[in-house]
Amino acid sequence: MARRTVTVIAGLLVAGLTLGPVAAVIWRGAAWSALAPGDWLAIRFTLVQAVLSAALSVLFAVPVARALARRQFVGRGLLVALLGAPFILPVIVAVLGLLAVFGQSGLVNAALRWAGLPEVTIYGMHGVIIAHVFFNLPLAVRMILQGWLAIPAERFRLAATLGLPGGQVFRVLEAPMLLRIAPGAFAVIFVICLSSFAIALTLGGGPRATTVELAIYQAMRFDFDLARASMLAVIQLALALAAGVFALRVSSVAGFGVGRDRVVMRWDGGGLARGLDVIWIAMVAAFLLTPLAMVVLRGVPGLFLLGPSVWQAAGHSVLVALGSTFLCLLWALPLATRRGELVGLAGIAVSPLVLGTGLFLILRPFVNPLDYALVVTGVVNALISLPFALRILRPEAEAVRTDYARLGAALGLSGWAWLRWVLVPRLRRPLGFAGGLTAALSMGDLGVIALFADPDHATLPLKVYQLMGAYRMEAASGAALLLLALSLGLFWLFDRGGRVDAKA
């Protein structure tokens, strides 16, 4: 029964670390009077931008997914794989890339100036939405592409035999699928955008473009108004829970599954449709790849400007990433069951800034919370990554139990021997993948750390943000490139570690 004890301890720790901070903010903040007038604007902006971001992501995803589902071309597999990359891309890196394209001295404005047209600014609501679409369009494309590829090829063959024109094929086969998948994609993206912090912090701000998460940060850092921050955290919690329930209701698809890389043979859509498909694929590739190319291009010269404080921050980030990966996997192994996954889901419902605010309130009577910035960041990142890790590990862990629990019991294996010789070796690949995701997410996180950090405890994403704030864009670009390399490098190392020598 020792195994069950470990599971219960892990479950209680996770539940305590999420519910404790929640209790703290509710206890501290349950009073509407604490709110400032601007906070109502923040609530409205949060909802409006989430609706628009989700709607636009899904809207653009439909033609792109359709094009990817029915065209075969060189680099298609790579493009589909790249659609998974934004998940591990640090937000601040993407923001720098988007600035290099849409910002004051970016490519778009250079072109507009050359054509004699008025310039655009990326700051404000539309900037926030562009960034959200940048991150979530790929997710929507992957979800809808899965739906497309799940339509049996025989149906398309039947449609071809009947000689149905393209419009009819869409009405009979594709529209029903979209009606099934698109609401789920919309809901998932809506939930993600609802707790947007880093993007609002860098591209939003001001009374017209402040999310609730950003308002929590401002109440804490600028006004040190704990009552107001707590009340905002309660509101954020309520929004996220309501949206989460809504998302669970409407989404029947797995949000983070891997798309099957298969092209369905189609007999409709020559000529004009073909041209449109090519244009959609080219546009989405340009929209996603140009910012990343700009990060690399502008980052290389900046690499030589990196001071010791950047390297120190990079060291902090690597430590935090490794720590939260270790913690997350330590929790995930015993919790990789159906009930455990429910416990882990708390990490999705409770946003990082709500957790951070709660932990701040809990720590403050005893210690100076700022001294524990890195530890708190590591713990919160582990909690936030836990649902993803469990999503990856649970099916495989259950398969191991189905296949070998009887053999283990017949041998009378101890809990330790089961873990050391059976569970961990059998789970190497998903453990590597989950570890890589956690490490990359934690490495690029710009959330709790902003709430807690002082200059001595900066992580690399925060350092990039500080450099941007000081208008040292070259150094910021260099640090962003370093951050990108470290995030992808950590992901690669873990993921590869799970694959190497993984026989039968």
Partner: protein, 231 residues
């Protein structure tokens, strides 16, 4: 003496009752139509299934509440008898030391002896996947051998082998079990296996695991249920 005393298994419509004794060192076959409860009977003896009523006794000791790993029972399943990511030696080592510790030289020698007993000398470093089907069966048998339990349960473990290989394996089981004096209970759907291997046969049909009958006598004058099964 392995004694099933008033054992009753009930699961929805399915019921199985058993009340009989098996002697140490004898070879028993369990036959009967599929779904009748042959594997369930083995699960009750091995401890994977707690009966709704009755007791399982070994030499007067009540096993009913004992977990599978602590029973005087080694079991060969239909599949998944070895961990595929571990070498055969490591698999046998875990059977000897379920705590996962290092083997002493004496225990190493036992592993090597079990391997040579089943004709797998020098193949201990391989993973199960690198062995042929027949060799995998032998390695699984070696795993039960090192466990050195007085009762061996075989739940159609050789069903995937061809007829000649299967016959060879049954002879090998009879030989090694005889050498250590173990009681062997073999579940099979093939009457030929029962004839070749077993001294006595337990017929499972119509919700009852009948008391064992001498093999020759049973097949010479099959009861109604067995006749229906043999067709």
């Amino acid at each position: 003496m392995l004694r099933l005393e008033g054992v009753q298994v009930i699961e929805g419509d399915f019921t199985l009752s058993a009340d009989f004794e098996l002697r140490p060192g004898e070879r028993i076959a369990v036959i009967g139509p599929s779904g009748a409860g042959k594997s369930t009977l083995l699960d009750v003896i091995a401890g994977f299934r707690v009966p709704e009523a009755g007791r399982v006794l070994w030499g007067g000791q009540d096993l009913t509440a004992v977990v599978p790993g602590r029973r005087p029972v080694g079991m060969l399943f239909q599949d998944n008898n070895l961990f595929p990511h571990l070498s055969v030696e490591r698999n046998l080592g875990l059977a000897l030391r379920p705590g996962g510790g290092r083997l002493s030289p004496a225990e190493d020698a036992r592993v090597a002896e079990a391997l040579s007993r089943v004709g797998l000398e020098g193949l201990g470093a391989r993973r199960p996947g690198a062995l042929s089907g027949g060799q995998q069966s032998r390695a699984a048998l070696a795993r039960v051998l090192v466990q050195d339990r007085p009762v061996m349960l075989l739940d159609e473990p050789f069903a995937a082998l061809g007829p000649a290989l299967k016959a060879g394996m049954l002879d090998l089981v009879a030989e090694v079990a005889g050498a250590v004096g173990a009681l062997v209970v073999l579940v099979t759907h093939d009457p030929e296996d029962a004839r070749r291997f077993a001294q006595r046969v337990v017929l499972v049909a119509d919700g009852v695991a009948a008391a064992p009958v001498e093999t020759e006598a049973l097949f010479a004058d099959p009861p109604e249920a067995l006749r229906a099964y043999l067709g």
